[in-house]
């Protein structure tokens, strides 16, 4: 989905009304972020996306989080990065700023940082409760973050996350950057979704400049996106089973993942396909022997994968770990507008490829799997079904790949332009807002990962489960740390 921005500056009353409509479930929150002297809020209602802007008076704006909980962390991040206060917010603790920076609110009014107060984790009271602090450095080869468990024996009473350890200041680095440099930064927001981020950034820029990538580029982008989805879903399915100590599945899906990355490398010269998508099109065409490599991959997956699904489904000891574990109730998925397999495993029928939709998916046929159970098992099954859909999409893409140019020029416009894009990564929808200045450089770019609305649900999902099932729940979410922390 791309759009040139119909962005509306609203009054305090209108801002509050929008918050109330979110709370009532009439709209979904797509994003809430800071800018120079103002905050923006992106909303989804039906097929329409709207962006509201509130000019901060005295450095403050009416809290959305006060009535709509999913906004709370976004507001805390605005507080840490821009210094704007969310008036009336139930939680004003910093977010992302862990007290190690030299500057306070680095994207807003920069001031020398003061010594931070100790971070107050939310309390849990009761007899025989104990706390288990985990991280930021975890026991596996994964990203860093802090989890504070309060447990009663084996049962988790409360989990609270503290994130921000991999905050690199990406949005600040983007300010003043040229499109090429900013595109590279966007492509490194979350390495596992580098293609999706590059597409989202490119689409936002194209919307702002009112240009359109040629059809061949759109199809090649979709091919890359589906290869990325396949690779990640294979990795996730195996890793979830591995956390239930079912290593055989991990070994088998590891082979499929490696074959997928090799096919990507054969097509586009990079295993993760970094920097292959650029504003205006794609940086390189598919290699001459690329389609054959992808067809061989698809054939191999179709041969092996059904047997692995059967293995997953018929292994009682594995099912015992995944079925009814880590349930996200549908009302929470709806409230948080959770994207990807987290939302779709809990009844939220949303996929940015279909709605609002973007090229070439409007010309391709595919189904969006939705389940209601919301447990680890459902999140595995959504991935399984999406693998099947991606294979079907790849067939269609290779069949219909149009000839022609792979990019159009990206002209400077001589005026300030804004654009927005909503793109479906393997993990869920990514929102990108971009404002390009007269000189063609980035004035402001905001990247909102799907994880922002999934991390809080992990806190809910683990409640009442045993500590030993946390890795399983966590892996079934596979939220991004880097994409969230930026």
């Amino acid at each position: 989905m791309t759009m040139t921005l119909p962005r509306t500056t609203v009054t305090e009353q209108e801002w509050r009304k929008a918050a109330d409509r979110l709370a009532a479930g009439e709209n979904s929150l797509l994003g809430l972020w800071g800018d120079d002297g103002c905050v923006h809020m992106a909303l989804l209602g039906g097929r329409d996306i709207a962006v509201l802007t509130y000019v901060c008076k005295d450095g403050s704006y009416p809290s959305v989080g006060a009535v709509h909980a999913p906004a709370i962390r976004l507001e805390r991040a605005i507080g840490s990065l821009f210094g704007f206060a969310a008036a009336g917010s139930p939680d004003t603790r910093p977010w992302l700023d862990l007290g190690f920076w030299d500057v306070a609110h680095p994207l807003g009014k920069q001031e020398p940082a003061r010594k931070p107060a100790p971070y107050a984790f939310l309390p849990a009271e009761g007899e025989a409760l104990h706390q288990i602090p985990v991280g930021p450095v975890h026991a596996g080869i994964i990203e860093p973050g802090h989890f504070r468990f309060t447990a009663n024996g084996e049962h988790v009473v409360r989990l609270e996350q503290r994130l921000g350890y991999v905050h690199k200041g990406i949005e600040q680095l983007m300010r003043g950057a040229g499109l090429e440099q900013a595109g590279k930064l966007a492509g490194r927001a979350s390495g596992d979704s580098t293609v999706a981020y590059s597409i989202a950034f490119a689409q936002a820029v194209e919307a702002a400049l009112q240009i359109k990538a040629p059809p061949r580029a759109a199809y090649l982008r979709a091919l890359m996106a589906e290869l990325e989805r396949l690779a990640n879903h294979f990795g996730d399915i195996g890793a979830i089973c591995n956390d239930a100590t079912f290593a055989l599945m991990h070994a088998q899906t590891g082979i499929l993942r490696e074959r997928t990355l090799r096919a990507a490398d054969a097509c586009f010269g990079h295993r993760l396909m970094m920097d292959a998508v650029v504003p205006g099109g794609v940086a390189r065409d598919i290699a001459a022997d690329g389609p054959a490599a992808v067809q061989a991959l698809v054939a191999e997956v179709r041969k092996v994968f059904p047997r692995l699904i059967e293995l997953y489904d018929s292994t009682a000891s594995l099912q015992d770990r995944t079925v009814t574990t880590g349930i996200v109730k549908p009302e929470y998925a709806r409230l948080f507008a959770a994207g990807g397999y987290v939302g779709r495993a809990s009844g939220r029928d949303f996929d940015a490829r279909r709605m609002p939709g973007y090229a070439p998916y409007d010309e391709l046929s595919f189904e969006v799997p939705v389940l209601q159970d919301g447990d680890v098992n459902a999140r595995v099954w959504i991935r399984i079904r999406e693998v099947e859909q991606s294979l079907a999409l790849i067939d269609q893409i290779l069949d219909r790949l149009p000839a022609g140019e792979i990019s159009v020029p990206v002209p400077a416009q001589g005026e300030t332009r804004e654009g927005l894009a909503l793109v479906e990564a393997f993990r869920g929808d990514i929102l990108v807002y971009v404002r390009i200045g007269i000189d063609g450089r980035i004035e402001r770019c905001h990247l909102r990962d799907a994880s922002w609305f999934q991390w809080p649900l992990l806190e809910v999902a683990i409640e009442g489960n045993i500590v030993a099932d946390f890795p399983l729940c966590n892996k079934s979410f596979n939220c991004s740390y880097s994409g969230h922390d930026l």
């Binding site: 190690f100 080869i141 680095l173 490194r188 927001a189 590891g254 295993r271 991004s480 880097s482």
Partner: protein, 171 residues
């Protein structure tokens, strides 16, 4: 399950021959490893991976080292969960200011002798993230680094070549 297991017995192994040790890596390491350390470690190294701020791209390729194609453990290299069990810290990413202290603590928790391998373009000097208010720099700005493995992210082959250079020199 039985069919999958039987088939994996009959078709040959997927594992590919290991690449030659990285020449540049060997030269870099020649200075940092002494004979006493070799005697103590034998021919195996335990690796603790630390993400000090990466985009997660490097982690994906480090994970790939354990798949059937690269099978790291056949070479005497293995990943461990605790820095207390580690001979090598494999650090990815620019070191963010938020991770600097955690990285230092992890380093201090690993027993001597130990080596630090900086993985990826960001770990070398902060890469594309250098100069940010939130980034302390490359790994060498925080810890003594014995080996750099370049790439964004390095391919599993490049990672293997670098680690083999370390193994040849250290073990």
């Amino acid at each position: 399950m039985r069919k999958t297991l039987l088939e994996s017995l009959t078709h040959g192994p997927l594992t590919e021959p290991a690449p030659a040790p990285d020449e540049a890596g060997l030269a870099e390491l020649a200075q940092s490893v002494d004979r006493a350390a070799r005697a103590r470690l034998g021919r195996s190294l335990s690796i603790r991976e630390v993400d000090a701020g990466s985009c997660n791209g490097c982690e994906l390729e480090i994970h790939a080292l354990s798949n059937a194609f690269y099978d790291l453990e056949r070479l005497g290299l293995r990943f461990v969960a605790s820095p207390r069990h580690a001979d090598v810290l494999m650090v990815t990413g620019p070191v963010t200011k938020n991770m600097r202290e955690a990285l230092l603590r992890t380093y201090n928790a690993a027993p001597d002798p130990k080596w630090v391998v900086a993985v990826g373009a960001c770990a070398a000097n902060g890469g594309i993230f250098a100069g940010s208010y939130a980034v302390a720099g490359g790994v060498k700005d925080v810890l003594p680094v014995d080996l750099h493995i370049p790439g964004c992210p390095p391919t599993p082959k490049a990672l293997l070549a670098g680690l083999l250079a370390l193994l040849q020199t250290a073990a």
